[in-house]
Symmetry: C2
Subunit: 591 residues, 2 copies
């Protein structure tokens, strides 16, 4: 059988537009110049008709109505010669349970010939599916032309790798399908990017293929929605678990002849970067760790390039889907803002980026020079708006009520907030999206100013620990060197000691532990949900762990008002990590 | 049988402190001077040992560990002479499903003699219980001294009033318990306040009592956690559904003789306000509407006093639980900030409130005078920090890059952001929590400045529509008049046309529809999840509805970074309303 899997970027709630795109892609799947025969079945991702995740738009009955209108449009406009499988939202008509179902149907000759509902509804991290959907009660087999095809919708495929080791889904949909003697498994997904997650997807697919002696076809979404990047990389493995074909990160069709297990790719959207990600296709290794296994450290070297790609997709698609073309950001001369500037230029083009340097009485000359050099190398426009005049103005007004009190965090933060005022004025005046440049180590410990450097519509590197910021910066420089180009990020920026420059000779390490240690503690606390005792048991200094955990717990109120971060880790701050603000916080707080 | 229900304010994660409080309250239940005999069973709220909602603290195994340590402490320290029922978090040891269970156990003589798990796990609005808990598989009957007692844990009691009309829980725990011939139903809850919700609780209790010919004892939490206020008001109805006894909003013991159905109250914590809320105990009315029925308008007159009380509890407990004693806020001379100032003074005492007036070149003289008069009447300290000097400083610095461009939202917002800088400097310098003063109509339409007037740690009136802000202000004045006092909110503030005063002669109604109409459209869109067509069908002007819906959808990015609002409506902005930022937004957007 010839099956095409089409990975596609959907816009949430754009039922008309998504349906048009599906019809267009189906037609392209029949385009000339192809080696394999015409596809008999064409598969789109989970919820391709609606976009994912629609979140509480699902509470509007009009959303299900729109989804069903999109489905009728497909029934009317898809070519009759081919069966097309697509994910969408439908109403639950069983009379019991949640109002909606997460459905996947095959349309053939204008009729819906098969429907499988999703069984395992992810309700952890960024996922809230039990909030909306009633799960499938049965797993069915689609039987076109004597084939027996099973569909595992995204999480249905993940029984083997649950979100936490102490949680086990009571049903294993893949096992049920294998027991029903399917001869092909298809996995329509909307699976958000996490560094290293592709390895788990591949492991699950290989295990299933070998166990069932059947090919497994994995079809993922592309693009990004707010914090979530959908990394595509759809693939097919044969019944021995060997890779037959794989897609990149953007819209693409992978067609497979399931008899000969030959495959053919058709790229539908131009990739934004030169390097094709198939060059970093992970190799299978014995004892390959699951994504749900505890993480020891920040992302390892192999994962840095996929994080790079994810951040570019995340920035680019956020702008496209919110209707903006330009970005601005504050450039301090430090590594965080330098990296965001370079990523922004890669994502939307240097012409669409404006950097604003806002030196203060505490800024070093080096910082300004480094900012200038960074913009020169990357051809980014640089504006300079010193903060001294408004800072002096504020201090003069506050001199009476603040009389006799020492310079403290009030004045430090005020400088950051003046910068926030400049940046937002720029954003408002030139209709340009402000990117905020904070990293995960800062956000964790609260080493950042709410309404100051935290201002911005999107936080590209807020899910990268400081050590990962360094690693990605070095990686981007290494890529440039390989291409015979100058380092995009001047070495001086990478080498200098990090500083907020909010008081004289301030250095991050005056307030924070060394990042190498800090980040390892934070991984245990945030990604692995380890508490005080467990982290100390791993050999970290108890006083240091206590300090880090308390700083992190106490900064929750800042993160509650933070810009959405592009998720690259197993646990990002934001919608996937929900904590109370008012709570017990002892000196020896265990959590 | 003599049963005490104890409503109690728990601190999330303070297992030691909560356990100590439980033991203390049990001992107080035996205090002298009581008319009824000693209680044989004492009931605490759902999760009283852990606080509710712990949110993702539950992902830490240390949380369940702490909860179980608290339980052991209770087993050790509770008097042997009485059975005590308490809610807590336990590990799910069944080997299947989620890692945790929401448990309620009765401890007697140091042993756990009965446990009922929660069956219906609310996973809508602000609730995420399916994210953490495995539901109960069975409903059991507790049988002390020949009595047959059933426990319905919070949502277990709500089968009859589901969160939306198109959602029906497949199990009705109360019906199962009635079918098991219980002779008392006890409902341990952590039920957050919504205006009018008490009526539904009473309706459900009366219906159950009459259906089963049994008394129903409802035991709720008190206090507040971030956005959620727990309004206590625990009560008992007899087997005819008649009210036997009821508590106020703070910690209190209600003891009931279930044979004679006589009751006795013991107040444990001093109420913060003079008026006891039993004076607004809702009367049963024929055809009493369910809280889940579509809402027609903003809160009605009867609900205003309970909203008043909820906001005071919300402000007060947020400060207590985050360890602050002082608040500050910007006072514009308009009604929103005036109301927040008065509420803050009621909650934490006028001595702990500082108001800051920050007039601009566009502020009217009336605004400043009204601010002065408000503070005079309420004995609140008023600071004056004009924004002209920093505003001029910013404009001078921006004159080159902004040259030739008209004064627009950039300069309007800049003024609001300068005020944000002042307020946060004050907050930082004096360790005082900044209250933000925006209302729900503004937040909906985006008629507010991110990082400007939206700055603040808590948003007391962000779940009140502008028309409700007026109603509550008038109500507070009426209460004062009844007590022979001067209006806390000067009439001039209530009567003047609302204005942001960010440009010359600006009025809200230049940009927004009349609030009377706007708020009704917003209720349909936000509380009732009605889409464009459905709202127009109700008789509203189509162009106006389109404008309001688009303004609201487009302002989502601001709300994502907003301070937590104290929830008083069925649907507040914040953790209970989760929407994507990047999404389809047509001119004729249906949602």
């Amino acid at each position: 059988m010839i099956i095409s899997i089409v990975q596609m970027n959907s816009v949430i709630g754009d039922f008309e537009g998504n349906a048009d795109k599906i019809v267009n892609y189906v037609n392209q799947a029949f385009s000339s110049g192809r080696k394999l025969a015409q596809p008999e079945l064409i598969i789109f991702p989970e919820m391709a008709l609606c976009g994912y995740p629609p979140m509480d738009l699902l509470d509007y009955d009009a959303f299900a109505e729109g989804s069903l209108a999109g489905l009728r449009k497909l029934q009317k406009n898809l070519p009759a010669s081919v069966a097309v499988g697509v994910g969408y939202v439908d109403r639950n008509r069983s009379g019991s349970g949640r109002a909606l179902i997460n459905a996947f149907s095959v349309i053939s000759d204008g009729k819906i010939v098969f429907t499988q509902l999703k069984t395992l509804l992810p309700t952890y991290d960024v996922f809230d599916e039990a909030r909306y959907f009633e799960p499938a009660k049965v797993r069915k087999v689609f039987t076109p032309q004597q084939a027996r095809i099973g569909f595992a919708i995204c999480e249905d495929f993940w029984w083997e790798a649950p979100p936490s080791p102490d949680f086990r889904y009571p049903i294993d949909p893949v096992k049920e399908l294998l027991d029903s003697s399917i001869d092909i498994l298809i996995v329509p997904s909307a699976s958000p990017f996490i560094a290293g997650k592709l390895k788990t997807r591949l492991r699950l697919a290989r295990n299933t293929a070998r166990e069932g002696h059947i090919p497994v076809l994995y079809c993922n979404s592309t693009g990004a929605n707010d914090s979530l990047v959908f990394d595509g990389r759809s693939f097919a493995v044969d019944s021995k678990g060997d890779m037959v074909g794989m897609c990149g990160w953007e819209d693409e069709i992978l067609t497979i002849d399931t008899t000969t297990m030959t495959a053919e790719n058709l790229v539908l959207a131009q990739t934004s970067r030169v390097q094709h990600l198939s060059t970093i296709l992970p190799q299978e290794q014995p004892g390959d760790a699951a994504a749900s296994a505890p993480q020891q450290d920040p992302a390892n070297h192999d994962e840095i390039e996929e994080i790079h790609q994810a951040l570019i997709v995340g920035i680019k698609d956020y702008l496209e889907k919110t209707g903006f073309s330009k970005v601005c950001l504050g450039l301090s001369g430090g590594i965080d803002s330098a990296l965001v500037a370079v990523l922004a230029a890669e994502a939307v083009g240097a012409d669409n980026v404006v950097c604003i340097a806002m030196p203060s009485r505490f800024s070093s000359e080096g910082s300004m020079n480094d900012a200038i050099e960074l913009c020169r190398r990357n051809r980014i426009h640089l504006e300079k708006l010193p903060i001294e005049v408004p800072f002096t103005a504020f201090l003069s007004q506050l001199s009476v009520p603040f009389a006799g009190r020492p310079f403290d965090s009030a004045e430090e933060n005020l400088q950051a907030r003046i910068r926030g005022c400049y940046l937002m004025a720029w954003s408002n005046k030139f209709n340009s999206i402000l990117l905020t440049t904070g990293n995960k180590s800062e956000l964790a410990t609260g080493y950042c100013t709410l309404y100051g450097d935290m201002c911005g519509a999107l936080a590209p590197i807020a899910d990268l620990y400081k050590t990962e910021v360094y690693a990605l910066s070095r990686h981007i420089n290494a890529l440039a060197r390989q291409a015979g180009k100058m380092d995009p990020i001047p070495e001086a920026i990478i080498l200098k000691a990090p500083s907020a420059e909010l008081r004289l000779n301030q250095k991050d390490q005056d307030s924070l532990p060394e990042y190498e240690i800090l980040d390892k503690i934070l991984v245990q606390y945030i990604e692995n949900n380890k508490a005080f005792d467990e982290i100390v048991e791993q050999g970290f200094d108890a006083a240091l762990v206590r300090k880090v955990l308390l700083m992190t717990a106490r900064a929750e109120f800042k993160r509650r008002q933070a810009a959405p971060a592009i998720k690259v880790s197993r646990r990002a701050f934001g919608i996937g990590r929900r904590l109370p603000l008012a709570r017990a916080m002892y000196e020896a707080d265990s959590i």
